[in-house]
Amino acid sequence: MYQKIYVPVDNSEHSLRGIELAVELGRRFGAQLVGCHAYAARMHDIRFKQMEFTLPAEYQVEEELEKQRSIHDTLITMGLELISDSYLEVMKQQCALAKVSFEPRMIDGKNFKVLVNDINNNDYDLVIMGALGLGAVKDSVLGSVTERVVRRTKTDTLIIKNTSPLEEQLNGKTGAGVKNLHGNGGNIVVAVDGSPESFAGLKSALALGRELGKEVEAISVYDPYLHYTMFNSIANVLTEKASKVFKFKEQEQLHEEVIDTGLAKIYQSHLEVARQLAKEEGINMKITLLDGKAFEKILQYVRRERPWLLVMGRIGVHSDAEMDVGSNTENLLRLVPCNVLLSSRRFTPPIDLRAEESMTWTEEATALLNSAPEGVRGVARTAIHRYAMERGHSVISRKIIEQAMAPILPRAAMLAMGIIAEEAAIQKISEHHGETYICKECGYAARDVLPAACPVCGSETAKFGKIDKETIQNLEKLEGGMVEEVAFDDRRLLWTSDAKQALRGVPSGYQRRRAKAQIEKTARVRTLPSITKDLVLEVAGEVMEATGSLEERGRLSQSETAADESILQEGEFSWTQEAWARLQRVPEGFMRDGTKKRMENCARGRGVSLVTLEIAEEGIKEGLKAMEEMIARQAQEKEKESKKR
């Protein structure tokens, strides 16, 4: 695991404990140790010169000053080297006793800079450093050198915060000397958040645990309260109109649903993956899921359980790769009362393992898989998992199986296995020929007889709408035939052409998607065979009215709604949907007009009348080039003017 361990030393208590641990790890892993002390001779030299004027009068003579400077220079250089040598001698002796290979290093320069330089230019597997140096005072929690080194290096770093004797840390004490709950010096706790850094940390922890005889456990924290806070905050500032557009209630409800189950499940799955990884190494690992702010909950856990070592990813799952240290890690590094291992390595568990732990199968999908011959279930399960993971699904439904299997199994085989059963289901639904009346107030359904009043909400007869499938089927013909559309939940529904046209009255984007979903939902609740224009107006009419004024002001242009068509005719050119949508992203006004002309020129240059996305991008590139040239020209003119002045 570890072959070369780097230990910056300064003879502080933390540093001495670091040396002991490094020697122990070097012995157990057969690693080479490199001890380093950085000293700043130049800084002393500068300071001496700055203080020369305070020397007594007899020294303030040219010759005497030169002599003193020379003496000081020699003393400082030699002295600092001697001190460094003594610090490193301690480590050398311990290494010799433990029969561990040792290399001493002394570097002159600004401490953190030379250490960072040395770490980044060598192939150390692990850096062991004290959290505090000789300059620490009562309230210090993390020394500046350590903090700067951690921020600027990407090598696994073990920060020593526990200064109890190493023997006690590793094996604990009995009787009155017990300093932790376990009596064995404390466990190793790994904070897992699904990031490759945290999984690599887990692997390191397992290796350390095995070598040092420490139990390893994993914890994970999810935060279900952030969204509540956000929504409460938003609720206080949204105007009535804005909250209508934002669909605040629905959004809040959606988030509650997601938070209720989704977040906990995701983080639990990270823990399950961690447990599987440990199991593969023959370790039965304890896992704990906590809820709340990550750094706060981990801190509370560490204070309560008092582990020997806390292992964390240097950056978290939401961090950019360029980030030096993640915020949770940074806070914990300062506050936890135990040693900390920051993992910079990366390890991604195999996709199958992750999928096995994170995917949920619907009962229907499980039954379908179980209907396959036993010998192929494992292979099919893996193929389906991979398909679903690649597309970001978390639930395996019959539909996902159908899609995943389509390129693998022939249609006849899928029919035989019952994978394609949707057509049969649709047929079954349309078998009921009786009349159904639905209460428009509460949704109560009355079959065959129109009720005198709604038995649920008491609404009068007039509030009931008749679901007459025959009439709807006749309407389909009048409304320009049927188009099959995939609904928001992947089910297929039939739309008349007029209904589709009517839906375009709702502004594109979020509002249209939402209206479409509502219409589809209503159609299914009423078990309608198809979606007609009347239904669209009934469900989405309110949204259309609300946005009507926007259309009048020209904020929703006709061209915007036309972006849904596959090909759009605009003047002498035709536009593909993507090309038109790309153009719409350019700010309205002279910029969009100019860009459109450039795109058309590009098409003209190629001798084609269809503007594709590629041509659109080319036009935009030319536009940007022209803009850059213009800016450069202006800058030149400005420079000329300033020279004239």
Partner: protein, 100 residues
């Protein structure tokens, strides 16, 4: 939190209603429960703490009865989801004195 919890359960009911055919008795039982729960929320907004149990809790109980008594038709998954909703509603009902 009671209105938020009930609203969440209403959304679950709506999902179930949506998945059932209009000719199912179980669907109508769900519709009735949803109706009572909506009235319960309206009632909570308009009444004082003292009269809460007399005036509002009835709607909650009606919803629970409507949900709990109808057993014909639903598949196992729907029954499990229904039981879960009942459990949540029961949770609110037990704490109705604490709502303010």
């Amino acid at each position: 939190m009671a209105p938020a919890i009930i609203q969440l359960e209403i959304s679950r009911l709506e999902e179930m209603i949506e998945s059932l055919q209009a000719d199912s008795d179980f669907r109508n039982a769900l519709v009735k429960a949803r109706f009572e729960l909506k009235r319960f929320i309206d009632c909570l907004a308009g009444c004082g703490k003292e009269s809460l149990e007399e005036t509002c809790a009835g709607h909650l109980r009606n919803a629970m009865i409507s949900l709990g008594l109808e057993t014909s038709g639903p598949d196992q998954r729907t029954v499990r989801l229904r039981d879960y909703i009942l459990d949540r509603l029961n949770h609110v009902h037990e704490r109705i004195r604490l709502i303010y």
